[in-house]
Amino acid sequence: MERLNPETTPMPAVERPLIYANLRQPGYTVDLDCYLKHGGYEALKKAVAMKPEEVCKEVETSGLRGRGGAGFPTGMKWKFLDRKSGKPAYLVVNADESEPGTYKDRQIIYKDPHQMLEGIAITAWAIQAKQAFIYIRGEFIHGAKILEAAIAEAKSKGFLGQNILGTGYSCEVVVHRGGGCYVCGEETGLIESLEGKRGYPRIKPPYFPAVLGLYNCPTIVNNAETMAQVKHVLAFGGAEFAKIGVPGDSGTHIWGVSGLVKRPGLYEIEAGKATFGELLYDFCGGPLDGRKFKAIIPGGSSTKILKFGERFKGKLPNGTEFDWALEDIPLDSNSIAACGTGLGTGGTIVLDDSVEMIQALSNLNAFYAHETCGQCTPCREGSLWLSRVSGRIAKGGAKESDVPLLLDIANQVAGRTICAHGEAVAWPVQSAVPKFKDEYLESIRLRQRGEPVPKLKLI
């Protein structure tokens, strides 16, 4: 048989399921027995045989970056935990999965809850938290029940609760359901919500959760998938885990592709080992029949939009110069950030030539206007104005000057708010207006002339 030379022939990109390895197995179930048969809680045994600070060190060495969207190094976050205050430390797991386009954590919660719980037990041990909370979005009604049942099972076998694995160390885990509010995915808004209040994000400083978090105690807030990744960091060991992926971005990323592709779905790919072209064509089967790709929102709705046909030029953090088409961009956080956007949560929304871009923007603007908490004037007013102005472009009654007005409003929101919702409001507008200005103007003219508009309705 003829062998392909990997040096000269590009190998087709393949998935590397770590997080989804179990749940992809036929017949895999959520119960503890099934998890144990698949090697469950072995990483926890390894962890509790180590000192907590050694576990922290492994995670730091692994180079793991948080999977909630910001991509902050997990090990470094744990280092910020105030251990001198004498107050109890809390672990809060952010399972609020509310960034539009993101549906990766849902799979873990509904299909492999013990994997996340094992990561929680390891993390709690590492930071010596005696109490952990899983803040799960209110709409995951059955998901919360699955987690509660899994916690009860884990407690009955000594993996959680009192005297974990005979160490004398105890940690209780409580599942806390949200109320359908996007801003509670922001860590300080989440903490307020968990305290039984409105989910108004807190100002930093002084409210860095690692110092003044839940009940004004030191708190680590980590994403649900990050917890699952921590389990694998311990299973591999930090140094081995760091070899998965590329320098600066280790492990796998789950790409949750939605929108207008042949095979929307979740694809777990080693960081940097495939490109957007491979993701969209090889994994997702390309555009729908007779359509052409137009743009993608790469990592959840707040990340900046990328247009097909653009060239991306610049320098990577390691100094390498690049000149890429959208299809060439490698799927790791540094490469994607170098193209002016972000990997975010990996929730890629795909738009094709059937989409009228102002309707897509208006759809997102309506989302942010609905979800602003209303604390900061620029965000509260700006998000509503953006929604109205883009809405009138999409529905009729707009002037051409409304297009630059969109940008003007967005520029007054970003950087002027307590939390990142301000940026989430502004970025889709700031990135899309310069790229699709001409099409927006055409949308205004179409409606002024009373001509037919694209059929797909998005607002």
């Binding site: 409580v174 109320g179 209040k197 897509a360």
Partner: protein, 187 residues
Amino acid sequence: MQTPSPSAADRPLRPETLAKAPAIVAQYPQKRSATMPLLHLVQEDRGHITKDDMHWVAEQVGVTPMQVLEVVTFYPMFRQSPIGRRHVRVCRTLSCALRGSYALMEGLEKSLNCPRGETSPDGDFTLEFVECIADCGCGPVVHVDGAMHENVEPAQAEAFAAKLKATLKDPDYGRRAPQPGTPEWNG
């Protein structure tokens, strides 16, 4: 024809609801954290949250009723008025919209005889657009009470509505243990 029980808003909370409260409150280092779990509990009991319920929650967690009202009015999932027998929530946000959720909504409005944001005159359905419910690869998705229906194509609106209407005659609706892979499991 059945109409929503007029007593639902007036009757006391069920004894089993009251009995669950202390254990929920005890889970938290500070009682106030139990505000949202108790509000969910009340809403599961009655279908919505009344002023008296807010007073009860306030007592359980040691805050003023006003502080409970603040929470109720902040979170979209909490409601202060009754809804229809089936709560139909269609995802509106971009991923689902790209797959036709607006056309689906129009179809459901017709088939269920219910404008979006309202309850049908017979009290059977409340139909709403909601923001992203984190199942974006299977759009359009429709969350009906505790069940998540995926890939509900706009062309299937009428058939889907018929399926929902059939559940009104199912005496065990919502009471069966969910099986993996079903809308009930994913709800």
